[in-house]
C-alpha cells in the first residue's frame, strides 16, 4: 500500500498564499459534497478561516453526465478573516464535461482547472452539449489546465483489492481530494480518521478509500504536472476553542442549548423539507437531552403539535422552509391569539411555490411579517452567518418564552448548508432564559399581563387550581373568556401589537460598522452579512464614506435604527429578494432606501455589492 512519508517528499517548491477558493464539481453521484466537506474540515482544523457554499440539484440523481445533475461545493480558505465562500473560484476541479460547462464561467481568469480527462469521451461531451472536446480545441487557453486521467489512475491504485469496477470508481473523489491535499499542503489524517469511522463495518471499502486518497496525494507529489504547491497559513482568529459547523448544525445546537438553559424539554415537530431536514436529523440524535422529535404527517400537524407541546409546558418548535410556513400560517395565528411561545424555524429557499428547493433566497421576510389573517404580529430574528445560527436560535426561544409569543427564526439554504469555524461558547456564559410557570391560583387569570413585557402567564396542565381554556376566538382582556365585544377586540389587537413592539426594549441596539454618519449606509440582514460587510470594508479602504449595519432582529427592529438611518445621505439595502426589508424600512422610517436585489438562488458576490456602492458613492 502506498504510504505518505512526509520526510521523503519530492522537493517541489512551496508558495505561500493568503487565500484560495476551490470549487469541486461533478455529477450528483460523484460525492462532491463529501469531498468538499472533508477538504473544509481539514482546512478548519489546520487553522484557516473558512466559508463554504454547497450548490447541488434538487434531484437526488439527475441523469449521469447531464447539466442538471451537476453538484458543486465551493470552499474559501484563508489566513485572513473571511466572511464569504469567495466570489470566484481560483481552482475548479471538474470531474466531467457537464461540471466544466456549468462551472467554468465562474472560474477566475488564469485560474487552475483540474480535469478528469477520462470522462471527456464522446457521450459525456454530447450530454454536456459540447460539439468539440474543450480539452483539445484551445477554448480553455485562458486557464492553467491540468488534465489528469483520474478514473484510470484511481482504478489502477485499487486494482489489487478486487473490487468491482463500479465500486472502485466511486472512490475517485478521494483520489481527487488527495491531490488537492497535496496541492494545498493539508494533512490526510482528519479524512483518514473519518474514513476509518465511516466504513468501520466494510473493511474493503475502507481500504479502497484510504488507498484512493493516498494515491491521489502521491500522484500529485510525483507527477510533472504539478511543479508547485501552496501553503495557506493559520488565520488570525480570536483566541478560543473552535470547531467547524454548518448553519443547520448550529441551529440545532442553539435550540438544544436554549432547552438546557431554560430547563424545559424541547419538542421538535417537523415535516421533512429541503433545506430544513438536517435540523430534524440532528435533533433526533440527541434525545438524551430530553428532546422529543415528532415527524408529523404534514406541516400543519407539525406546528399544531408544537403549539400543543408548548401549551403543555415544553419548548414547542417547528422547522420548515417557505412552502411549509405557508401551510402553517393559520396555526401561527392560533399561537398569536393563545399567546404561547413557539419557534418557527424557516430555512428559506427559492420561491414561490416549490421554487428552487436547494437554492437560497431571502424572500420570506414579508411572509413572516404579514403572512397571516388579521392583525397578527410575531417576532422575527435572523442569523448572519452559519455560526451565528447558534446565537439566534437560542435568542428565538429567549424571546418566545419571555414574551409568550411565536418567533420566526429566518435562516436560509446558504446559511444552513454553509459552514465556518465556530468559536465554541462556554455553556456557563450563555444568556439566561428564565421560565416561571404560574402556580399560584390566587388571583389567577389566563390573560393577566406582566407590566414590562405584557406577557401572559404560562399556566400548564397539571397545575391545580389553574384550569382554564384558551383558543383561537378573541379573548377578553385579563379573564381570557371568549369575547366579541368591539372595544375589547380593538384593545386586544393593539395590546398584541404593543407586546411585540416592547421586545425592542430587550434586544441590543444596532451597531454601525464604520463611521456613524456619512454618505452611504448599507443595511443588510440574514446571510448577506458576509458579502455586504466585506464590500463595505473594501469601500472604506478605498477611502469612501460607506458604513453598514446588520439586522439580526427584524421584528421588532432595534430601537436606535431610525436614528442611525437618519445620519446618512443614502441607504442601500442589498437583499436576495425584490426589496422586502427595503419596503419595511421605507414604510417605517420614511427613508428613500435603495435596493440591490438578486434572485438567482445564489448569494451575493462581494464584487456585486462593491459595484453598486461605487455607482452610488
Amino acid at each position: 500500500m502506498p504510504v505518505v512519508d512526509t520526510e521523503k517528499r519530492t522537493d517541489k517548491e512551496f508558495v505561500e498564499i493568503e487565500n484560495v477558493t476551490i470549487r469541486f464539481a461533478g455529477d450528483s453521484g460523484d460525492g462532491m459534497q463529501l469531498t468538499g466537506t472533508q477538504f473544509t474540515n481539514t482546512s478548519a482544523i489546520l487553522g484557516n478561516d473558512i466559508s463554504t457554499l454547497p450548490d447541488f440539484p434538487a434531484e437526488i440523481r439527475a441523469p449521469a453526465g447531464s447539466l442538471p445533475g451537476v453538484s458543486g461545493f465551493q470552499v474559501n480558505f484563508s489566513s485572513r478573516d473571511i466572511r464569504t465562500p469567495g466570489d470566484e473560484p481560483n481552482v475548479l476541479v471538474a470531474m466531467n464535461p457537464a461540471a466544466l460547462k456549468v462551472n467554468l464561467p465562474d472560474l477566475e481568469m488564469g485560474g487552475i482547472l483540474i480535469i478528469n480527462s477520462d470522462s471527456f469521451a464522446d457521450l459525456n461531451l454530447k450530454k454536456a452539449g459540447y460539439e468539440r472536446n474543450p480539452l483539445e480545441d484551445g477554448s480553455l487557453s485562458a486557464y492553467r489546465v491540468i488534465s489528469i486521467p483520474l478514473t484510470e489512475l484511481n482504478l489502477n491504485a485499487l486494482k489489487e483489492l478486487g473490487l468491482g469496477k463500479k465500486e472502485a470508481d466511486r472512490c475517485k473523489n478521494f483520489f481527487a481530494l488527495g491531490m488537492m491535499y497535496w496541492l494545498y499542503d493539508r494533512p490526510l489524517e482528519p479524512t483518514l480518521k473519518w474514513i476509518q469511522s465511516k466504513f468501520q463495518k466494510n473493511p474493503l471499502i475502507l481500504e479502497a478509500n484510504i488507498r484512493a486518497l493516498r494515491a491521489g496525494y502521491n500522484y500529485a507529489d510525483t507527477t510533472e504536472l504539478f511543479t508547485t504547491h501552496y501553503r495557506v497559513r493559520k488565520a488570525n482568529l480570536a483566541p478560543g476553542k473552535y470547531r467547524n459547523i454548518t448553519g443547520n448544525e448550529a441551529t440545532a445546537l442553539g435550540f438544544i442549548a436554549a432547552s438546557q438553559i431554560a430547563k424545559r424539554p424541547l419538542f421538535y415537530a417537523s415535516y421533512p423539507i429541503t433545506p430544513a431536514s438536517d435540523i430534524l436529523h440532528e435533533l433526533s440524535r440527541h434525545k438524551n437531552f430530553g428532546i422529543k422529535t415528532f415527524q408529523a404527517e404534514d406541516e400543519i400537524a407539525a406546528i399544531t403539535a408544537a403549539i400543543g407541546a408548548s401549551f403543555a409546558g415544553h419548548l414547542g418548535l417547528t422547522g420548515t422552509s417557505g412552502p411549509g410556513v405557508a401551510l402553517k400560517s393559520e396555526a401561527i395565528g392560533l399561537a398569536v391569539m393563545t399567546e404561547l411561545p413557539v419557534v418557527i424555524a424557516n430555512i428559506q429557499r427559492g420561491g414561490p411555490s416549490t421554487g428552487l428547493p436547494t437554492k437560497t433566497e431571502q424572500a420570506d421576510l414579508l411572509q413572516a411579517m404579514f403572512g397571516r389573517n388579521g392583525e397578527c404580529p410575531a417576532a422575527i430574528v435572523a442569523p448572519a452567518t452559519p455560526a451565528d445560527c447558534f446565537n439566534m436560535a437560542f435568542e428565538a426561544f429567549r424571546i418566545a418564552t419571555m414574551f409568550m409569543t411565536p418567533v420566526f427564526y429566518l435562516s436560509d439554504g446558504y446559511l444552513g448548508n454553509g459552514s465556518e469555524p465556530w468559536k465554541i461558547p462556554k455553556s456557563g456564559e450563555l444568556p439566561r432564559i428564565e421560565i416561571n410557570f404560574r402556580t399560584d391560583p390566587d388571583g389567577f387569570h389566563p390573560y393577566l399581563r406582566d407590566e414590562a413585557t405584557l406577557a401572559r402567564p404560562w399556566a400548564i396542565p397539571g397545575t391545580p387550581g389553574l384550569e382554564h381554556r384558551i383558543g383561537g376566538l378573541e379573548k377578553q382582556h385579563i379573564s381570557g373568556n371568549v369575547s366579541y365585544h368591539p372595544e375589547n377586540h380593538e384593545f386586544m389587537v393593539r395590546l398584541r401589537a404593543e407586546k411585540i413592539a416592547r421586545i425592542a426594549n430587550f434586544i441590543p441596539e444596532v451597531e454601525v460598522f464604520g463611521k456613524p454618519e456619512g454618505k452611504i449606509l448599507v443595511v443588510s440582514w440574514g446571510g448577506t452579512y458576509g458579502a455586504v460587510t466585506s464590500a463595505v470594508e473594501i469601500m472604506q479602504r478605498r477611502g469612501k464614506s460607506v458604513s453598514s449595519i446588520h439586522l439580526r432582529y427584524l421584528n421588532p427592529l432595534p430601537r436606535n435604527l431610525g436614528e442611525v438611518l437618519s445620519k446618512f445621505e443614502k441607504i442601500l439595502v442589498p437583499e436576495l429578494n425584490l426589496g422586502q426589508l427595503q419596503l419595511l424600512l421605507r414604510a417605517r422610517y420614511l427613508v428613500d432606501a435603495i435596493g440591490l436585489n438578486k434572485v438567482k438562488g445564489l448569494p451575493f458576490k462581494i464584487s456585486e455589492v462593491v459595484a453598486k456602492l461605487e455607482e452610488l458613492v
Binding site: L253, K287, D298, G462, E467
Partner: protein, 347 residues
C-alpha cells in the same frame, strides 16, 4: 368489554370529584335541544369516576359546534383550529404522557378538513380519547352537507342533492387499526356513559362515534333507529363474549355466512350457537370492519364497543426512546455537546 386496568393521569392519592366540579361558569351556547348537551352531561358524569385529578385533564377541540365543548368543561382546555385537534393533542400528550387528553371533534372537523390528522393520530395509537359528534351536517356554518351526509342529501350547498358518497367514521378508524373503536347515541344516555367510561379506561387511542342530533339543520337524522319504539329492533348493542342478538323479542341475530354477515331469526334450525359471538379483542380488525358497515334497513345499526386491543402507545414509545437514549449515552451534557467533533484551539 375491555378495561386493561389503565386510567390515564390517575393520581396515587384519593381523588373525590363530582360532576359539578367539571362544570364551568360559561353559559352553554348550543341551540336548545341539541344533542351536544347530552354528550357534555355524560362526559361530566364520567370524569369523576376516573379518579384523575381535575388538573390532569386536557380537552382539545377543533372548530364546529361540538368544538365549543372545552369551554364548558372545567379542566385545561384548548379550542384550536379547524381539523387540527388531533395534532394539537399529539403535542400535548407526547410532551406530557401523564395527562388524560381528550379530543372533541365533529364529522366535518375530523373527517373533512382534519381527515389527515385524525388518521395519523389513530394509526400511531396515541393514548388519547377521541369523541366524534356525528350529526351528518355542518351546523356552525348553517347547514351544508358533511362527509357523513347520505348520498343525495339536499342542503343549502346541494340544492339538487349531494353527489358525495359518505364516509363511515368507524371504518376509517378501523382501517387505521384503531385499538379502541366504539359507537353510541346521544339520546341513549346510559349506553353513552358506559361507552365513554370504557374509552377513558382504554390505553391507546380510543375512538368513539356518537350519533348526535342537530335539531336545527338535520333534525331526526337518526330518528328511524333511535326512537324508543324501534330502537331495540333497529339497533344491536355489541357486547364482548355474547352472541349477537337483538330485537324487542331478542329473537334476531347476526350470522356469518361465507364472507357475508346476515340477519337471522332464532327458532327452528337456527339457534344461538349459529350466531357470531362478539370478540372485542380479536387481533384482526376484519370482522369489526364488517360489523361497522352494517346499516339499517338491511341490518340493525350496531352500537357499543367494536374493538379493544392492546398495543404500545405512541407517547410511551416516544418517552421510552428518550429514556433509552439517556441510559445509553448518559444524560445530555451541553458543554460536551458544544465541544464535540473535531475541535482546535487558537492561542
Amino acid at each position: 368489554m375491555s378495561d386493561n386496568g389503565h386510567t390515564k393521569g390517575k393520581a396515587a392519592g384519593l381523588v373525590d370529584l363530582k360532576r359539578q366540579d367539571f362544570v364551568t361558569d360559561q353559559e352553554v351556547r348550543w341551540c336548545p335541544g341539541c344533542g351536544d348537551y347530552s354528550i357534555l352531561a355524560q362526559t361530566q358524569k364520567t370524569l369523576p369516576d376516573l379518579k384523575i385529578p381535575r388538573e390532569n385533564f386536557v380537552f382539545v377541540s377543533g372548530i364546529g359546534c361540538s368544538s365549543r365543548f372545552p369551554y364548558y368543561v372545567n379542566t385545561y382546555g384548548f379550542h384550536s383550529i379547524h381539523g387540527r385537534a388531533p395534532a394539537v393533542a399529539t403535542g400535548v400528550k407526547a410532551a406530557r404522557p401523564e395527562l388524560s387528553v381528550w379530543v372533541i371533534t365533529g364529522d366535518g372537523d375530523a373527517l373533512s378538513i382534519g381527515g389527515n390528522h385524525f388518521m395519523h393520530a389513530v394509526r400511531r395509537n396515541l393514548d388519547v380519547n377521541i369523541v366524534l359528534f356525528n350529526n351528518r351536517i355542518y351546523g356552525l356554518t348553517k347547514g351544508q352537507y358533511s362527509p357523513t351526509s347520505e348520498f343525495g342529501k339536499k342542503t343549502k350547498s346541494t340544492p339538487q342533492g349531494s353527489i358525495d358518497y359518505p364516509i363511515n367514521p368507524l371504518c376509517i378508524a378501523l382501517a387505521n387499526e384503531a385499538t379502541f373503536v366504539a359507537r353510541s347515541i346521544d339520546v341513549d344516555v346510559k349506553h353513552l356513559n358506559a361507552v365513554l367510561t370504557q374509552a377513558a379506561h382504554h390505553k391507546g387511542v380510543s375512538f368513539v362515534e356518537v350519533f348526535q342530533n342537530c335539531n336545527i339543520f338535520n333534525d331526526g337524522a337518526f330518528k328511524h333507529f333511535t326512537e324508543r319504539e324501534h330502537r331495540e329492533d333497529r339497533t344491536i348493542n355489541l357486547e364482548h363474549g355474547k352472541p349477537m342478538i337483538f330485537g324487542k323479542d331478542r329473537n334476531k341475530g347476526i350470522r356469518l355466512n361465507g364472507l357475508k354477515l346476515e340477519v337471522v331469526t332464532l327458532g327452528g334450525s337456527i339457534t344461538e350457537a349459529d350466531l357470531l359471538v362478539h370478540d372485542v379483542h380479536a387481533s384482526e380488525p376484519n370482522l369489526a370492519y364488517m360489523l361497522a358497515r352494517m346499516d339499517y334497513p338491511e341490518f340493525p345499526v350496531p352500537v357499543g364497543v367494536f374493538r379493544a386491543v392492546a398495543k404500545p402507545t405512541y407517547d410511551e414509545l416516544m418517552e421510552a426512546q428518550v429514556q433509552d437514549s439517556i441510559s445509553r449515552m448518559g444524560p445530555g451534557n451541553l458543554e460536551k455537546l458544544l465541544n464535540s467533533g473535531d475541535t482546535w484551539v487558537v492561542e
